[in-house]
Symmetry: C2
Subunit: 344 residues, 2 copies
């Protein structure tokens, strides 16, 4: 029987539990990690000992074995608004279902910062990393490859991506919404996108929209090409400026639902009716977009599905299925026509 001189310590460890249960630490460890390898009756005793001693296992000590840290890292541009929240929640729910805990960090759209965050995540020996999109610094990609960390990119599908990805095709989303707007008769079209530097999602969408418009012989004058940050307030301000200075288009295609919301508010504040006076579209289909008034015509990018699938892909990699790398899952995009647009 395992024995040990009792030391006085504030925090119980696996050895205390072992003594309490009359087994060796090895057995306690096994009862956590390979329950079927220990006799049911022994496990019972161990569980009782755990309760009695108030033991909480130390994942750091576990992680040090070079095996499981039980964590995955998530790096997103921001938590500060609705953009990623549906996605994150879904991702988080799924990985937790599999016993992992999530380390989250934000870089505020600064890709150098993103690299630093990745390093810090790796210091914590996360078993996998999820990122947004495909614009990442050279250093980031190098590090990922060098350490061969399981990794998944969420939010946009890319045919020839180096790393696994789950998402829709953003250029297709752009084309689809542009097509929709043209189909319902608009030709006086403004567009509003964020700065597309270091942001492939926005860039692809914007390109998709503009190319489709051009192909259909619709010119968008400079003053109808608005750049705005990803916030309702910024979008609203930018929209107000446009409305004030320039002629009013019959439709505005925006880079996402948050920007669309800002444009709708600006229009309403100006006394315009959406969609009677002006149609506005978003991209993304966040959970509130169907609930607002008017509800927002947008392109469904299925954030929840992306989050869940991405978690699954990552989990597969973590569990050793490295052959299929990179796995690329295309999530279909689809225009959701709602109240914020109207045909003319």
């Amino acid at each position: 029987m395992y024995n040990k001189i009792m030391k006085h310590k504030t925090n119980v460890d696996i050895i205390d539990v072992a003594i309490h249960a009359g087994v060796s630490p090895a057995t306690v460890s096994r009862s956590f990690n390979h329950p079927k390898k220990v006799l049911a009756s022994t496990r019972k005793r161990i569980e009782k000992a755990i309760l009695q001693t108030g033991y909480i296992r130390n994942r750091a000590a576990q992680a040090i074995q070079g095996k499981r840290s039980g964590t995955v890292g998530l790096i997103v541009p921001t938590l500060d608004n609705a953009i990623f929240s549906n996605l994150i929640q879904a991702f988080s729910d799924e990985i937790r279902k599999h016993g992992f805990t999530m380390l989250v960090t934000t870089h505020g759209y600064d890709l150098n910062d993103e690299y630093a965050l990745l390093r810090s995540l790796l210091e914590h020996r996360v078993e996998g990393v999820a990122l947004i999109g495909h614009d990442h610094s050279k250093d980031t990609y190098n590090l990922l490859e060098r350490r061969s960390v399981p990794v998944v990119s969420m939010w946009s599908y890319k045919r020839n991506s180096k790393i696994s990805c789950v998402g829709g095709e953003n250029d297709q989303a752009g084309r689809a919404i542009a097509k929709h707007i043209i189909n319902i008769g608009h030709s006086q079209i403004a567009v509003a996108f964020p700065n597309v530097k270091e942001n492939d999602r926005a860039r692809d969408r914007k390109n998709g929209v503009l190319k489709y418009l051009t192909e259909n012989f619709i010119e968008v004058p400079d003053y109808w090409q608005v750049e705005t940050a990803y916030s309702v307030q910024d979008a609203r301000d930018s929209a107000a400026k446009m409305f004030e200075k320039y002629p009013c288009p019959t439709a505005v295609i925006t880079g996402n639902d948050v920007i669309a919301q800002g444009f709708i508010y600006a229009a309403q504040a100006k006394g315009l009716n959406v969609p009677n006076d002006i149609s506005v579209t978003g991209i993304g289909d966040f959970s509130s977009s169907a609930s607002s008034f008017p509800s927002i015509t947008t392109v469904r990018m299925r954030p929840k599905k992306v989050g869940t699938k991405a978690a699954l892909v990552l989990l597969d990699r973590i569990n050793g299925d490295r052959e299929a790398d990179p796995t690329r899952i295309k999530v279909s995009v689809e225009v959701k026509s709602r109240e914020s647009t109207k045909s003319i």
Copy 2:
């Protein structure tokens, strides 16, 4: 000079770095943790070695010493909407500024789940924990006390809380907004709150509102007391039902800005003008509340300030200042009168 037979290993460790730099592992370690204790020139050499070897320190191995894990845990009800995002972003920014990484988990308003999450966070040996509000299970409080984990509760101030807290007084917020509504002449008032079970913030707000109304001889009939979940869609549905079946109040006081938004949309959808036909108020002042149209009259709870201050309080605890526990910081609440309300 430190020496070691070179083993073949995929992942560089501190020993490899030490060899490379011609020093002992101890010195490398010190150059991370107590930089001033190592000669500048030595540090230079070590940094070079780190770069050359591609070393990434192992926080798990560090955490095992019983010292710093470099992480703090955050447990929130949900990430899925705007409610906590401003708060979380501020909290996250601040702790990161101090070199910590954040582990985030959500319990979906289930306090038993919260306890399980806390355990899992402690398994990862977070150095501190931040929670929302004061409604937590007995087990949660016990565990916190037993392990004497640095902890801070965010979002509501409580005079005699067991644990440190940073936030506004939710009952005062309720009273303040009720007072405002009465002051501008309303007496036909509906209220809309979420289920207040296991949610002290909502409960306090609701009590504050209802008590103030009662004190001022305003009765709220049952059909004007709406219960709704914290989502725009739910709120909108509940509002629509109320508008359909019952007489229309001149004002609705809601439990937070998300619910307010839902009511505003429902009213607009019904053809009502906010605020001319009906006034609507929220509580919280999320970042989009000032940007919407109409902008939302609400009670400013300063989520960013709360997040930042709470992080600071927690960091203080972590850095050994345990005497001042519990520290309670009251963040002033203040009615922000905006476009969604009008006097009659």
